[in-house]
């Protein structure tokens, strides 16, 4: 905690809120002893839009579009989490084809998020070229999802009980062609970045998260798996159609930035595997549950559901009092916990590593601010 401005030996350095590598509006006060950081205190809330307060003043359907705006990089996972929670409250069964479509679009969305992280993170580290490669790839997915959902970023695609639109042959062939293309790029990515000696020197042994710290702070997602804990909601608390696919959970060993990078890179290949299997096994049938009530009025009770987003566990806690409006919605967002540990790991690091550590946990600030 930084209380006074200037101690005898230290000084305070202000980072943000309008800094290009804070990926949003995050401000961090750094107490410096020369080049080394002795304490760090983040100031968040610049993008607070009161989603939880809005939820209490809207009915269940009206709150659905909000979900795409909490984490704009993996909007479909937030759609999925909210729909799952309401479906659980209502006791709705989602048809299998709809679950498959949810998995396919969700994994495509995860790929866009990881690709954006990959490019933007390397740009933070001073490498410009990978950014152009990733955005080239990412554009193909955005076009695919645009053709299906009608939007490029803030998707509002799932409905309570299924999905509103079926995927057609163009989407399927386009996705297959894209997966083929993306796989041909892994060698380029490895040559450009993974084997790059400057990158390795900047990331190996920097920004360590230990397993104990991860438990104390409730870290989830690739930042946790980089430390060697194989916790992924898709496997540990399986939802939707995920149990029907074969995929692995990549983990790191040391918990440094390099491991988190490797985990994300390998996860992209696993997403490709899931999409391919889902397209091969796509069942026929309806895409919406029968008998979805027009007026969503869940019975009294509470529910907690969790899904795996590109950044970690998104949990949604809904309290219903039998009304058309939710009584309370709490959004447990992954970056919130991840950022609070990252601030700890700044300590005793060089100021030159701040941006490298900050980018490595893939923060999305509007998600933290809600």
């Amino acid at each position: 905690m930084i209380t006074s401005g200037i101690e005898e030996k230290t000084f305070v350095l202000n980072l943000g809120p309008q800094h290009p590598s804070t990926h949003g509006v995050l401000r961090v006060l750094l107490e410096m002893d020369g080049e080394y950081i002795t304490a760090a205190e983040p100031v968040i809330g610049y993008g607070h839009r009161a989603h939880e307060h809005m939820a209490e003043n809207r009915n269940y359907q009206q709150f659905l579009p909000n979900m795409g705006r909490v984490d704009y990089l993996h909007a479909l996972a937030f759609n999925q989490g909210y729909c799952m929670a309401v479906e659980k409250l209502l006791g709705l069964e989602v048809p299998e084809r709809a679950e498959y479509i949810r998995v396919i679009t969700n994994e495509l969305n995860r790929l866009t998020s990881h690709l954006l992280w990959f490019g933007a993170y390397l740009m933070d580290l001073g490498a410009f070229t990978p950014f152009l490669y990733c955005f080239d790839d990412r554009e193909h997915i955005l076009d695919l999802l645009d053709s299906l959902t009608g939007s490029r970023l803030t998707y509002c695609f799932y409905r309570f009980g299924g999905v509103p639109k079926d995927i057609d042959d163009d989407f399927i062939s386009g996705t297959r062609a894209f997966i083929h293309r993306l796989r041909s790029r892994w060698a380029d990515y490895d040559n450009l970045v993974t084997k790059n000696v400057i990158f390795i020197h900047r990331t190996k042994g920097v920004g360590l998260f230990t397993k104990e710290q991860c438990q104390l702070y409730g870290i989830t997602g690739p930042s946790l798996r980089g430390s060697g804990i194989p916790y992924d909601i898709r496997k540990s608390e399986p939802y939707s159609a995920y149990p029907q696919f074969h995929f692995e959970i990549p983990i790191g060993e040391n918990g440094d930035i390099y491991d988190r990078y490797i985990v994300r890179l390998r996860e992209m290949e696993q997403s490709c595997r899931i999409i391919e299997q889902a397209l091969n096994k796509l069942p026929k049938g309806p895409i919406m549950a029968e008998k979805v009530p027009k007026r969503i009025k869940p019975p009294e009770g509470e529910v907690y559901t969790a899904v795996e987003t590109a950044r970690g566990e998104f949990g949604i806690y809904i309290v219903s009092q039998g009304d058309v409006k939710p009584y309370r919605i709490k959004l447990r967002v992954p970056s919130f916990a991840n950022l609070s540990l990252m601030v700890e790991s700044f300590k005793d690091n060089l100021v030159a590593d701040v941006v490298a550590i900050l980018g490595s946990i893939d923060v999305v600030i509007p998600e933290i601010d809600r």
Partner: protein, 154 residues
């Protein structure tokens, strides 16, 4: 099996309720009811069982009381424990941030949005709203958007 070892670890604390939850309906494997004063001990016991704090929040249940809701989960075994603790309006709850440092920000958020104070918290100040805000917007008496608009001077 955590669903057996957690109730065992909690039994010396004499909690009001430790019962298996209805996972298909609520997503909980264990449901626990405690008083806010028992929370540091509950958190300590769950830490020893290898759990992590998934989320911490409050619900403004009535005019007189709040319910603090703590969710704990485990990295290696699926067992979500939900702990409910009823707190009268105006009372202070002891912090658990010395047990789980991750609770620090969650408690600041609850203070910010509800005005609930956590005794022993090292740095209890606003998190999401501006430092000089004088509102606690998730309290039920706080006006909804439409009401706020109607009351605003024209």
């Amino acid at each position: 099996m955590l669903s057996e070892s957690i109730p065992q670890a909690l039994s010396p604390l004499n909690l009001e309720k430790v019962a298996p939850g209805d996972y298909a309906k609520t997503g909980y494997h264990l449901e626990v009811t405690a008083t806010p004063e028992q929370m540091p001990a509950v958190a300590q016991a769950l830490l020893k069982e290898g759990c992590f704090l998934e989320s911490l929040t409050a619900v403004h249940t009535s005019r007189e009381a709040f319910t603090l809701v703590y969710h704990f989960a485990n990295f290696y075994e699926l067992c979500r424990t939900a702990v409910h603790a009823v707190l009268p309006d105006g009372a202070e709850a002891p912090t658990i941030s010395h047990v789980f440092p991750g609770a620090d920000w969650y408690e600041r958020e609850v203070y910010d949005l509800y005005g609930i104070k956590f005794a022993g918290h090292p740095n209890l100040k606003r998190l999401l709203l501006p430092e000089d805000a004088d509102i606690h917007p998730l309290r039920k008496e706080f006006p909804a958007e439409a009401e706020a608009k109607a009351e605003a001077p024209k």
